[in-house]
């Protein structure tokens, strides 16, 4: 039973972090209708920022959130404004040009990071990196628990923002029907730019929160892009609540898969669930929650 609960806790905590990674992607997916294949790479960039702040300036990663999130917001804005928005105006055979552009952007980000920081692994060791506390014999990683808390708070914030603010409503309008929204006077390009910035900012938060317990090298983005993509599908394209469910589901699936089937299959679990969802619940959890 202890094994079961430890697995459950590990899965949920990891899932919170995954949710944070997924929300940004799902937001972008919802508004732009594309998967952002540079998502993990943006996270990597935020992690390097955190690393630099910690290593050279001695700033605690949680404080760095105030730096990394705005910085990545700007990066996202720049990417959308100068590479993706212009593409919308160019007619080409395949709308997927935008997705490919994100691949190119991801490549550039990775190589720029390699250029500056080389391929060496780096990590940020804080006092709480290794800290754990126990509840009834189950170990909780302090850093992951904090990350989980942040993930919940940020998601709640996102939800409120999308429902209650004008900007949030505009974003939802563009997500539902960009053309109709523009006719109603919403500047769709601006909304897209802001959304990309927010997506990047959210994943930056995830990266900054992850770094104290993880490590970093330029190629770290790829696996997280893939995870974000699975979460997005699980949750349903464009659904923030779905992303939370998707993230936690992925975290749980990985943890239980690792414990009861074999760690061999940790990565495959996500994909298996992905296929099951595709088969039996096309549209993801969004279909169930209707949000």
């Amino acid at each position: 039973m202890e094994v079961f609960f430890q697995t459950l806790v590990a899965g949920v905590l990891k899932g919170g972090l995954y949710a944070l990674i997924g929300i940004g992607m799902t937001l972008i997916m919802g508004v732009m209708g594309i998967i952002n294949l540079a998502h993990g790479q943006m996270m990597m960039l935020a992690m390097y920022l955190t690393y630099v702040c910690f290593h050279f300036l001695g700033i605690d990663p949680y404080v760095t959130l105030l730096v990394s999130v705005p910085c990545l917001f700007l990066v996202g804005v720049g990417v959308q404004k100068y590479t993706l928005n212009p593409l919308l105006k160019i007619e080409s055979l395949l709308p997927e040009n935008q997705v490919l552009m994100t691949v190119g952007v991801g490549m550039v980000l990775t190589e720029v990071a390699r250029f500056i920081f080389t391929s060496n692994y780096v990590s940020v060791k804080t006092s709480y990196s290794d800290a754990t506390f126990f509840i009834g014999g189950i170990s909780f990683s302090v850093a992951l628990t904090i990350a989980f808390g942040f993930a919940c708070a940020l998601t709640a914030g996102m939800f409120w923002f999308l429902l209650k603010t004008d900007l949030g409503r505009s974003i939802r309008a563009v997500a539902q029907d960009a053309e109709a929204a523009s006719l109603m006077g919403v500047n769709a390009d601006r909304i897209r730019t802001i959304t990309m910035g927010m997506g990047a900012g959210l994943v930056a938060a995830a990266g900054t929160l992850l770094l104290p317990i993880y490590y970093l090298f330029p190629d770290i983005g790829g696996p997280f892009t893939r995870k974000a993509f699975v979460i997005t599908i699980l949750g349903g394209l464009g659904s923030t609540v779905g992303a939370i469910l998707g993230g936690v589901t992925l975290g749980l699936a990985e943890a239980f898969g690792a414990t009861y089937i074999g760690m061999d299959y940790e990565d495959m679990m996500g994909l298996v669930i992905f296929i099951l969802v595709l088969l039996f619940l096309p549209g993801g959890f969004k279909r169930l929650t209707k949000v």
């Binding site: 593409l87 190119g104 595709l278």
Partner: protein
């Protein structure tokens, strides 16, 4: 006959090329180009003509390569049997996948194909008893000379282009393009969209799988990360087609030439030159520069991708008129 003149001249040139250019290095690069012509053309059929963008070329490529490799590894057959069977096995994978993914509209096919490649990679990595996992599969090459590989690759590349040409001039091609242009309209004129998307996917899988089998025969070594790579196979296949021109017959061929050549130029000549400069100037500052620039060739490649997509959305062949104009003005 006039429309065939240029392709025929090109073909004749390609047939004698390895007899003139005897450097194995260039022959090797040409084999890679031809391999990518096949893969790019296959992808173009599915995405460029049928409008179903796939991020899963690696799944079929890897399955083809593993078919060849496993036949030789477990059954002791020649890996050349893989050339006959690799494509067929790839089709077997494509079928259930298409059956799941095609009824869904929107981004699901693209996303599903991305997942398919990942699933195949995971399976090949974990199923050690069958695939040897990450240890990989190794066979001996049949030929020492590159010529046989060159001509086989050439035959495959030409075959794939002929196939696409034949398809585009038939009912199949009209149906594919109709589906790309508008699925509802296609259904309304009596086209079974799922069936024809499936046919297109199977052709794509067949060509890609056969190319994978050739890769196994030629390279002599595969492991899951090499042949099921999202970046190096699936995305490269897309780039080849996009750079050359999606939905054009010769686009992928032009794209393959450009991409393989550029990759090699960036990789080798770039820092070959800088190394020389370093030697000439005697280290110090230039050593540092060389160190950084040697890391930058992938960066240069990434920037190239961005620039091409921005400026040539329809590829070199698709935007040829624009390129010509630009050069005349410039």
């Amino acid at each position: 006959m006039r429309e065939h003149r240029i392709p025929l001249i090109l073909l004749a040139l390609l047939l004698v090329l390895p007899l003139v250019v005897t450097e194995p290095y260039f022959q090797h690069l040409m084999i890679l180009v031809l391999l990518w012509v096949t893969i790019g053309t296959g992808w173009n059929l599915l995405a460029g003509y049928t409008g179903q963008v796939s991020f899963g070329a690696a799944a079929f490529f890897g399955v083809g390569a593993y078919t060849a490799g496993l036949l030789s590894h477990h059954l002791g057959l020649s890996a050349w049997w893989g050339m006959a069977l690799g494509g067929a096995v790839a089709v077997l994978i494509a079928f259930p996948f298409g059956w799941i993914a095609f009824p869904l509209r929107g981004a699901y096919f693209a996303l599903g194909s991305l997942a398919l490649g990942e699933v195949m990679r995971q399976v090949a990595t974990s199923w050690e008893s069958l695939t040897e996992g990450m240890v990989g599969i190794l066979i001996m090459q049949t030929f020492i000379s590159k010529l046989p590989y060159y001509y086989i690759a050439l035959a495959l590349a030409v075959g794939s282009i002929l196939l696409v040409q034949a398809v585009t001039r038939s009912k199949l091609g009209y149906y594919f393009v109709s589906i790309r242009e508008d699925q509802d309209a296609a259904a309304s004129i009596g086209i079974n969209t799922t069936k024809y998307k499936m046919i297109s996917l199977c052709m794509h899988a067949f060509l890609t799988g056969t190319a994978g089998a050739l890769y196994m025969n030629y390279m002599g070594f595969i492991d899951p990360h090499v042949v099921f790579s999202l970046h190096d196979i699936s995305i490269m296949a897309i780039l080849v087609a996009i750079v050359g021109g999606v939905g054009t017959l010769y686009g992928p061929a032009v794209g393959a030439l450009i991409m393989v050549a550029l990759q090699e130029v960036f990789r080798s000549a770039g820092f070959g030159a800088l190394q020389a400069l370093t030697d000439a100037m005697g280290g110090g500052f230039m050593t540092v520069v060389t160190k950084y620039v040697s890391q930058a060739h992938v960066l240069a490649f990434g920037i190239l991708v961005v620039v091409v997509i921005m400026n040539l959305p329809n590829g070199v062949v698709g935007d040829w008129a624009r390129i010509k104009r630009a050069f005349r003005r410039g």
